[in-house]
Symmetry: C2
Subunit: 355 residues, 2 copies
């Protein structure tokens, strides 16, 4: 039972499919990894993956889908390199470690400012209200991290940024529920939580932002380069994209994002209910309204109890429950592919451990 924060559990069906055809993609006698990225066999996989992103998230025609390398960490740089010209400034809303990292990397590229933060004594336990934000109406864009894996918080309603394009790092919660993509100028998500293996980042970007993007940066970093070449300008990470296809196909077969949302809400409720009903034993540093459906962070009374909890969980084949070193405690990451049965087993174990 894999509760890793990422890379994380993948749907068993997606992995079994990969295993079955690892040496022979569709009767070609070759692994998907051995196919040319310009050949028909791979091209079909590539286009199916893109089509599934578009279908599942209902991405409108105003937006392009790019499959790139370098993860979200690279997007922290290439986002501003494309969208933040000299003379303009970009807004960042700080809700955790990853938004801080995005902000810091943004600084290496251009002028960035903090448009809101929920930091308190080095920690982040909540998401800011709209009224707390000081947004710049002339900003090149306004950036959020939609889910904060380390602190266990998540934006429920996204901020209103008027005409300023909203940019979101959705690495840890893309595809967990339906969203209105038209509200965003740019969405990027490292694949290794809800989408597939690491080494792939999915970028969804408004066409006009691509067209108006900066041209004074290396060709490889321009969104337009990849947009004009259907993400085949250079050799893409073909196996990761193949797995993305398998994962999204599995999501579709299981009812798409509406079914996924219900399942994820049910899973999160199982754990938060135990925490709330045993608040003398478990506690969570997270504001109730900001609780993440993807990463459930909680603590026990003493480090000794926490160590015992983790050791006992390990015996029951539950892994990945240790909280991030910067926060401590426990963290159950319950992304799309984490099965309800595992979450039930964890909730049962929590009750039993307290008893």
């Amino acid at each position: 039972m894999n509760f890793n924060a990422g890379p994380a559990a993948l749907p068993l069906a997606a992995l079994e499919r990969a295993q079955a055809e690892l040496l022979d993609l569709g009767g070609t006698g070759m692994s998907v990894m051995e196919h040319s990225h310009r050949g028909k066999a791979y091209e079909a996989v590539h286009n199916e993956a893109i089509a599934l992103v578009r279908e599942l998230l209902a991405v409108p025609e105003s937006h392009l889908i790019l499959l790139l390398q370098g993860g979200a960490s690279q997007q922290f740089a290439t986002g501003p390199m494309n969208l933040l010209p000299a003379g303009k400034s970009a807004d960042y809303m700080l809700t955790g470690s990853w938004s801080q990292k995005a902000y810091k990397e943004g600084k290496t590229v251009g002028t960035v400012r903090v448009a809101g933060t929920t930091e308190k004594d080095g920690k982040f336990g909540r998401i800011p209200a709209q009224s707390e934000l000081s947004l710049d109406a002339n900003a090149a864009y306004a950036h959020i991290t939609s889910n904060n894996t380390i602190f266990g918080t998540q934006w429920d309603k996204f901020p209103e940024t008027g005409n300023v394009p909203l940019v979101a790092d959705m690495s840890s919660d893309i595809m967990w529920r339906p969203i209105d993509v038209s509200k965003f100028g740019l969405i990027y998500a490292g694949a290794q939580k809800n989408l597939g293996p690491s080494g792939l980042v999915v970028v969804i970007v408004r066409k006009d932002l691509v067209e108006g993007g900066r041209k004074d940066i290396p060709v490889i970093f321009q969104y337009r380069t990849h947009a004009e070449n259907n993400s085949l300008y250079n050799t893409p990470p073909t196996f990761s994209i193949y797995l993305l296809r398998n994962v999204l196909d599995d999501v579709k077969k299981n009812g798409g994002l509406k079914a996924m949302e219900q399942r994820n809400r049910d899973k999160a409720k199982l754990l938060y209910d135990v925490i709330d009903s045993r608040s003398d034993f478990f506690s969570t540093p997270v504001d109730k309204a900001a609780r993440s459906t993807m990463n459930v962070v909680f603590t026990l009374k003493t480090p000794e109890l926490e160590a015992e909890f983790l050791a006992e969980a390990q015996k029951r084949k539950m892994v990945g429950l240790k909280g991030h070193r910067s926060v401590g405690g426990m963290r159950a990451s319950i992304y799309n592919a984490v099965e309800t049965a595992w979450v039930k087993a964890l909730a049962d174990f929590m009750r039993e451990f307290k008893a």
Copy 2:
């Protein structure tokens, strides 16, 4: 029989191993893709891959090994971003399409100049002699492409650049034979020919160049960032690195780079011998001294004959033999993992087709 130019054939043993443990890495009950990149199980794979690169290529302690994303195309930009400061210039030796691309991307970063080219009517049939080069003794570095996949040429002896660090894109021929790594300031190689699947680039770089590298670029693009974090600053492409490990382990078990060189030379000779002994029927646009051991480029008398050749080859389960669209004709890519038996079958077929 896979003669693709890249992504290309992988050793069957490496793929079979991946298939066998795709759902269960070392008894953990989880796929390598589902493991945390900060966990022990993955860490062992990561470090083994790096150690194998060091051992097989006899990389001296003066050099670091980094496992990054973005392929060679991204190194075209990040190489100069790190190594080419304002006020300095870098030399490029042009021997084909990829070195032209590296040069063009270098231009987007800083001052670059051509230190030699073998271009003639848009094509490149040879490698320049040392005497043809006009090297700048004050250059930040001098860049070559060690093997030219499209035109089928390869540097046999590397150029002497004195105190100027030699930088080489070795994407299409790294690990084909032993080399003296100490002669290079920077080597980079996209994995998808001799090393593993796409989505991974191996960088071998001199420590002093990393330390002296530019700091006025985004953190994610600084070699020092990845050097200081053992290539774990951000989530690495774990599955691609796992496959790199499998591939290099297979190379080692098969005798390392000396055995690989003999095997590759024998394979190339099989094809060039047919071409040379039937020069009224097959021809190659490549200077004899510059012939690549990795990509054997040849033509037939007419487009009709070439089409027939390809169709007949396809019937014999030989794929990937069509030359690059910019050159035409045929190209047999015979990287490390292309089996001698396949090359023999191709040589036999060539003789038979001519007969």
